[in-house]
Each structure stands twice: as structure tokens, then as C-alpha cells.
């Protein structure tokens, strides 16, 4: 088979895969972002702790939520590109942490086929540290993903989203004086 035919086949395959259901594929990716905030942990957690309130994240225009902070609660976040529905999997006021996962994918809004994450506030010196970790899959889980739907695109989108959120949280909490 010539190289041209091979790459055409690869292209056809990826188009077919992109048209099919976006089952999450076998190779997970990760992102791990941390920021220090000059405020006590309790104050940082106060800004973060309501699952249905993400006003600290500048990339989220709107949120609608049901279920409060109980596991199984749901929130729909609206990005500039579209909506994502997330469910609450674990929540601990005492440990100042919650974990969530994507309930319904929307690849036009966000180039990741499935994700889950956990955000935690801990004490660090006189202030706080916020750690946000995430596990996710590329948008096109076929073996020949186009560039905008591959592992690198997913890692970039998730990393930037988390950094933007943490910077927003820091600005919000530190700005309160």
C-alpha cells in the first residue's frame, strides 16, 4: 500500500471515528495544577466550597445546579464554547475537597471525551495551597485522531482551563483583602 493510500485510510478512519459515539478510549491523560494563595485555608474554601457556585472561574459564564453539595449533585457550566454537565462524586467540608466528573460530553465546548477531577485546599505556611488534579481522555479516542482532537489538544485545553480557574480563584480571594 502506498503511503498516500495509507494516510487517506487513516483520514477516513478518523472521520468515521469522529462521527461515531465518543466512547472514552483506553489511554487516560492527566493534569496537575497548584497555586498558592495569600489567605487562610478556611477563607479559600469559603469561595470554593459550593459545588453550584463557580463564580471564581473566569472561563465559566454561567452555572445551573441541583442537589447542593451532596454526592450525586449536578451542575451545568456554560463556557464561551458551550455547556458541560458535571456530577459531584465526593465532598468533604472537613478535608476541604470535592471530586466531580463529566456526565455528558460536548466536544464542541471542550475537546475532552471524558474527565473527572478533584480540587483540594490545604494550609501552606501563612496561606493556602489549592491543588486541582484531573484525569481525562482525548476527544477522538480512535488510533488516528486529528490534531485538534488528540492527546496534546486535550492536555492543553484541560491545563489552561485549570490554570485560568486557579488564577481566578486567587484573584477573587486575595482581592477581598
Amino acid at each position: 500500500m502506498t503511503r498516500l493510500v495509507k494516510s487517506l485510510c487513516a483520514l477516513c478512519f478518523s472521520v468515521v471515528a469522529a462521527g461515531a459515539a465518543f466512547a472514552h478510549g483506553p489511554t487516560p491523560q492527566r493534569a496537575d495544577e497548584t497555586i498558592t494563595i495569600a489567605a487562610p485555608p478556611a477563607k479559600v474554601w469559603e469561595a470554593l466550597k459550593t459545588f453550584g457556585d463557580v463564580s471564581w472561574h473566569p472561563g465559566i459564564a454561567k452555572v445551573e445546579a441541583t442537589g447542593g453539595n451532596d454526592t450525586g449533585a449536578s451542575r451545568t457550566i456554560t463556557l464561551a464554547t458551550g455547556d458541560l454537565v458535571e456530577g459531584l462524586d465526593e465532598y468533604s467540608d472537613e478535608e476541604m475537597t470535592y471530586g466531580y466528573r463529566l456526565s455528558k460530553e460536548n466536544l464542541e465546548a471542550f475537546p475532552v471525551s471524558f474527565y473527572s477531577g478533584k480540587i483540594t485546599v490545604t494550609a501552606a505556611g501563612d496561606g493556602s495551597e489549592v491543588t486541582w488534579i484531573s484525569r481525562f481522555y482525548r476527544a477522538d479516542t480512535g488510533n488516528f485522531p486529528p490534531e485538534h482532537l488528540n492527546d496534546a489538544a486535550a492536555v492543553k485545553a484541560m491545563t489552561e482551563f485549570m490554570q485560568q480557574g486557579l488564577n481566578g480563584l486567587k484573584a477573587k480571594v486575595e482581592g477581598q483583602g
Binding site: A23, T27, R30, R101, K118, I133, R135, N143
Partner: protein
């Protein structure tokens, strides 16, 4: 060090490893690090040289029941690597179409591989020289874990996107039944006698307990969020389920809620039982380590450091 001394040291190292060859071994597969690590019970890391470098992105692992071999799926490459555990090297690479993910190994080198994207299970006869013979059977959407019954006659396949388990007869590779289970079945394990199949439903947060004689769900257990790994003790008395959400492992003892839930690392996945059912090993994918659980006290007693992204663990019994 002189060459003579090096030679003596190597000889001593060989004698020590040969002298302990009868002991149990723990094998840990790291996806990001692309390494299979061998660990002795009680150790906190693989010994020097006790690792096997693999091609990119190894996903899951199964040990042969009758040979010192491990079979590793490479979903993104369309390959299965065969590792000789005594020689600690890849001795063969088999091309398997599609995205090979779940894997089970029967006697005589017959392996069963789930193809995640093409919704099929492929039996590969690896015995002998030359191109292996492939036999395919269509199953449900997105086959995840694949397990083989102790008698080798049946393969069970978790169809993640179809909320079902396919039952495949290995003699002619046909689907003999499809069992509806919970939402997004992923990991599975069989009781040692083969009578019960435990299916972790990832999105549902449940385990479906399947009676393999009647092929019906006889019980449903409530687990933590995102059950992602499953193992049973040799006496069948304990079932361990890892939870990605919350980073815990639940220990079940035949009732529909966990007897104990133990904190492990972040994003735990595969779990295996060792030392005659007294230890469990849990691969903490995000934390890059393996939790060692004492099943008598139901406490984490140690972490084994691993290369990045451990997803699967297997224990090779002492011969």
C-alpha cells in the same frame, strides 16, 4: 570496581535472585512510564534491573496460567507484547487489529483480547511459529475487561457502552448469552470456583454479582464513585473494588455494602491479591505508586514506588 569484582558481584546477584526465585512476585504495569516492574513481597520499589521496558502506552496485563509469560495490550499501537518474566524481556510482539485493551490468557498460549473500538473479542492462538490465527466475535459496544473461566470454556466481556456482559463460548467463539448489568461496566473478576462474576459498573457506582450457572444478576452492591478495579481472595471470601472517585478501595464480604473502605492513592485502578489472600496491591494511577493492604487488619501498610501511571497489577504465585 575491577572487572573481576564486577563479575563476582554479578554472580552473587544471580545466585541471590536464583535462590529466591521460588518466592511470589508482584508485576505492575505503568502506562505513562511504559514499564513492567517486578517487585518482591515486602519491597518498597522494584529492585535494580527488575523492570522491562515496553513500547508506548501499555494498557492492561494478564499472566499465562501455564508459562512464565505476561501478555500486555498496547491499545494505541494495535499490538500485544509477550514478556518472558524469567528473562525479563519482550520476546514477541503480536499485531492485533483495532484497539486491544482487555485481555485474558488461557492454556497453551491462546489469548482473548477485547478490541475497544470495533466491538469485538479476538481469540489469538499464539502457539507455534509463524502468524498467529485470529478468530473474531462481535460483542457489545466498547469491550473493556475480559476474563476467562477457570475451565477455559467461557470468556466474559464487559461492554462499557452497552451496560451488558457478553458470554462467549471459547470452543467456537460465539456469543452464547448477553447479560444486562449496571451503567458502564468496566472491570470484572471471577470467584476462584468460577461460580460468581463480579462486574464493576463505572458510571453506576455498583457491582453486579452474576451467577455464572444461570447467567443472571443475583445481587447488586453499592460501591464508591467510579469502581475501576476488582479482585477476589483465593477463598472467595473477600471482593475488593477500587474507586477512582475518592481514591479508596472497598472490601466486600458477600453483603451489598462494603465491610470496610480504605483510603489509598489518587485514581486507583487495578487490584490484585497476594500472599495467600493476606495482601492486596492497588495501582494508584495518579500517585505513581501501589498501595499494599493488609487484608487481616484492613489497613494500608506500605506504598510501592512505580514508574508513572500504574494501571494494572498481577501476582505470580510461587511455583
Amino acid at each position: 570496581m575491577s572487572n573481576v569484582l564486577k563479575g563476582v558481584a554479578a554472580a552473587i546477584a544471580w545466585m541471590v535472585s536464583a535462590g529466591t526465585a521460588a518466592a511470589e512476585r508482584i508485576y505492575i504495569l505503568s502506562q505513562d512510564g511504559a514499564v513492567l516492574s517486578e517487585v518482591v513481597p515486602g519491597a518498597e520499589a522494584p529492585a535494580d534491573g527488575a523492570t522491562v521496558a515496553l513500547e508506548k502506552g501499555p494498557a492492561l496485563l494478564a499472566l499465562a496460567p501455564d508459562a512464565p509469560l505476561a501478555y500486555v495490550t498496547h491499545s494505541d499501537l494495535g499490538k500485544v507484547a509477550v514478556v518472558d518474566l524469567d528473562q525479563r524481556r519482550v520476546v514477541r510482539t503480536i499485531d492485533v487489529p483495532g484497539s486491544p485493551f482487555g485481555i485474558a490468557v488461557g492454556k497453551g498460549g491462546r489469548i482473548f483480547v477485547g478490541d475497544w473500538h470495533e466491538d469485538q473479542v479476538i481469540a489469538v492462538d499464539t502457539a507455534g511459529e509463524g502468524e498467529p490465527k485470529l478468530t473474531k466475535v462481535r460483542v457489545g459496544r466498547a469491550p473493556a475487561h475480559v476474563v476467562l473461566s477457570p475451565d477455559g470454556e467461557t470468556v466474559f466481556v464487559a461492554n462499557r457502552e452497552e451496560d451488558s456482559v457478553s458470554v462467549v463460548r471459547t470452543s467456537d467463539m460465539t456469543v452464547s448469552a448477553t447479560i444486562p448489568v449496571g451503567h458502564a461496566p468496566f472491570a470484572m473478576t471471577l470467584s476462584p470456583d468460577g461460580a460468581r462474576l463480579f462486574v464493576g459498573n463505572m458510571q453506576g457506582g455498583t457491582v453486579s454479582v452474576v451467577d455464572t450457572a444461570t447467567l443472571a444478576v443475583r445481587d447488586t452492591w453499592k460501591t464508591g464513585a467510579m469502581p475501576y478495579g476488582a479482585a477476589v481472595t483465593p477463598d472467595g471470601g473477600r471482593v475488593l473494588i477500587t474507586h477512582q472517585g475518592g481514591g479508596t478501595v472497598g472490601i466486600f464480604a458477600g453483603t451489598d455494602t462494603a465491610l470496610a473502605t480504605i483510603k489509598v492513592g489518587s485514581y486507583p485502578e487495578g487490584v490484585a491479591i497476594g500472599e495467600n489472600g493476606t495482601r492486596a496491591y492497588v495501582a494508584n494511577w495518579f500517585s505513581d505508586n501501589v498501595s499494599v493492604i493488609d487484608l487481616a487488619t484492613m489497613k494500608e501498610i506500605r506504598r510501592i514506588k512505580t514508574p508513572a501511571g500504574p494501571r494494572a497489577v498481577a501476582v505470580r504465585s510461587a511455583p
